[in-house]
Amino acid sequence: MIRTLNIAFIALTGLVCLGLYHIAEEARVTSADLRTTERSIQFESDAITVLGAEWAKVTQPARIQALASRHLDLSDAPAVELSSLTQLPPKNPPLVPEGAFRNANTVVPAPQAVPTPAETPTDAVFAALKTGT
């Protein structure tokens, strides 16, 4: 009985040793992989750091302004030539009520009298804005 147990324990110990060796080997390989990956991350991280700085350099306003003045046919607009959304003319009302299209028997009514864009006070402002001073 004791002999059987001894053999069993020795076998178990042997298996445990093998298992331990296997785990140790796996840990070594994983550790090597980790170092490689870390080196790779480090390289990419360094590259990102440098690229971030390069991006900040090439997008700085002084450079953009120099490029724009060299390559684009733009000029600084005086403030009075700028406008805001609230100064845009209202959207023209539809000539035909929306529901009328669904009714095949409907005859298209005569267009409603709507002020032409130039007649509305907001449009006059907008026109003046476009012409500028």
């Binding site: 991280s45 590259a47 700085q60 306003p61 009075v80 805001s84 402002v125 003046a128 012409t131």
Partner: protein, 537 residues
């Protein structure tokens, strides 16, 4: 037969001992496993985290735009003895690193053990050098502080030394936070778009009027955040050396000036607070004011009597002096002190000059100080005091760190006085000396200043400090713009004048027109329509 139980006991004892040893070994392995898997900090194991902690944190502006960053660089060393062909190695290394080939050849031939090939290699160059496959190359990891914006904001941000420690500017003032903040970026109060506009317009104006120096500040009057700060001449921080004409002196904080008539803001704020004037009362300004052996003049004639409001708008020294006399030195002194004009500002920026105040403060001093002579302050200190007057009347402390909430400063003047002062500042721009600072739609209010510089015990009439302080939008003020020019020269466009209204005010107007949309300030459509109507009669 008696020895058998004893032998059995011995074997049993050995088995127990072996079992105990095995159990102890397994317990140790288990304990280590638990420690590694449960308690160990993965970041502590990673070399990446160590590298991140070793470098200085990024400096970014309020919108996250990069201002300063530590770049990973490497110093490349070589052991020439390991090279097969010294000439070929020198050629290849020179090609990749930019090092002088002749120098490399001669140092390699000298048979030294260890030769520096090139400092500060970027990661791609380092990689390229490694790919050469040359034996005997070694790299030493390092950092180099890089400022992508170059000269822009150089004075405020400052520099680091060779050991990556802050030596000036915010690099020094925030050194501990930058080094020990765990690598998290430090968000400054600057807006790099506004900073660029300020620098650009100040540089243009400085060129136009051939100034000795110039500078400007954009300040949020509620949070105290310095949105932009420019001082010319400036310098290129990436060069680590000064070029001819460059200066590391931050004139907005390191220098003190007698700022002239922009100080009238404080004289009028005090008079309104103490109710010693009403804005429509006539003040005689027709003749110079005699005060003991001194005589006070105006830059130009304003007629006999003008209202107190127009004394401010037309910047009359004679009128302001009379108003200052009503309050007197005993009340003027604590009032200016309450605005922080007697002490050096305490900000994150270490380079901060202390104001110069008169030793004796009598009637004559009270009068000259009312129009900005006899007291010298640094421009940022002045801007903070002026912001306290127009922001509703509470003290503002400038800061170079991004803030989320307005400051709750101590009250220095009433809200009513602050509102009246804003109206007066608007009057200066619509009907006074600051008309050239107007930016249509942005309701600019401001005050011009022209001070003669002290020279050989008196004041020089041809060496001026010309300035303008503007606030916008005046009906709900958010930002203050200060522009200063040191010894501007009048030109054809200014009809030979070098005063604040002709030199600094137009620059301030252009700055406001450009930065207001960036800062989200809405234009007044009523004012725009009025401008359009006036332009298209």
């Amino acid at each position: 037969m008696e020895a058998r139980p004893a032998a059995q006991a011995l074997v049993r004892g050995r088995i127990v001992l072996a079992a105990f040893l095995c159990a102890a070994c397994f317990a140790l392995v288990s304990a280590r496993l638990v420690e590694v898997m449960v308690f160990a900090d993965p970041a502590a194991i990673s070399s990446l985290a160590e590298r991140a902690r070793a470098s200085r944190a990024d400096l970014v502006d309020r919108n996250g735009v990069l201002i300063a960053r530590d770049l990973p660089v490497s110093d490349l060393y070589a052991s020439p003895a390991a090279f097969w062909d010294i000439g070929e190695a020198a050629r290849q290394l020179s090609e990749i690193t930019g090092a002088d080939e002749a120098r490399l050849k001669s140092t390699f031939a000298a048979k030294r053990n260890y030769v520096l090939v090139q400092r500060g290699l970027t990661p791609d160059k380092r990689d390229a050098a490694m790919r050469l496959g040359l034996p005997g190359l070694s790299f030493e990891e390092d950092h180099k502080r890089y400022y992508p914006s170059g000269r822009i904001v150089s004075h405020a941000v400052g520099q680091v030394d060779a050991d990556d420690k802050g030596v000036s500017g915010l690099e020094l003032g925030l050194d501990e936070r930058i080094q020990k903040g765990g690598g998290a970026p430090v968000a400054l109060s600057f807006d790099m778009r506004v900073q660029y506009v300020l620098e650009h317009e100040i540089a243009e104006a400085a060129k136009e009027f051939q100034t000795k120096a110039a500078g400007g500040i954009v300040l949020n009057i509620h949070t105290g955040e310095v949105m932009a700060l420019a001082s010319l001449p400036d310098y290129e921080p990436n060069l680590r050396t000064l070029e001819p004409g460059d200066s590391t002196r931050n004139r907005m904080t390191q220098d003190v000036y007698e700022l002239g008539s922009i100080f009238k803001i404080f004289a009028f704020a005090e008079a309104l607070e103490e109710k010693t004037i009403t804005l429509d009362e006539p003040i005689p300004v027709g003749k110079p004011l005699r005060l003991g052996r001194f005589q006070i003049h105006d830059f130009e004639k304003h007629g006999e009597d003008i209202s107190a409001a127009m004394v401010f708008a037309e910047s009359s020294n004679i009128g302001t002096a009379q108003i200052a006399l009503r309050s007197g030195p005993r009340r003027q002194q604590p009032f200016l002190q309450s605005l922080g004009l007697f002490e050096a500002l305490k900000t994150e920026l270490p380079e901060m000059a202390s104001p110069l105040t008169p030793r004796r403060w009598e009637m004559v001093e009270a009068v000259t100080i009312s129009y900005g002579h006899g007291i010298s302050v640094n421009p940022l200190g002045f801007a903070a005091a002026a912001a306290s007057i127009v922001n509703g009347g509470t003290r503002v402390h400038p800061t170079f760190l991004k803030q989320d909430t307005p400051q709750q400063g101590t009250r220095v003047i009433s809200e009513e006085t602050s509102r009246t002062m804003r109206e007066l500042l608007r009057l200066v721009v619509t009907d006074g000396t600051g008309t050239k600072a107007d930016a249509p739609g942005y309701r600019v209010g401001g005050k011009t200043g022209t001070a003669e510089k002290p020279s050989n015990g008196s004041y020089s009439r041809h060496q001026l400090i010309s300035s303008f302080v503007g606030v916008f939008p005046i009906d709900d003020p958010q930002y203050l713009v200060f522009v200063m020019m040191d010894e501007p020269r009048g030109n054809k466009s200014s009809f030979g004048f070098a005063t604040g209204g002709w030199t600094a005010a137009p620059a301030a107007g252009r700055i406001i027109a450009r930065v207001a949309p960036l800062l989200g300030v809405k234009r007044s459509e009523i004012e725009i329509n009025d401008t359009i109507a006036a332009a298209n009669p």
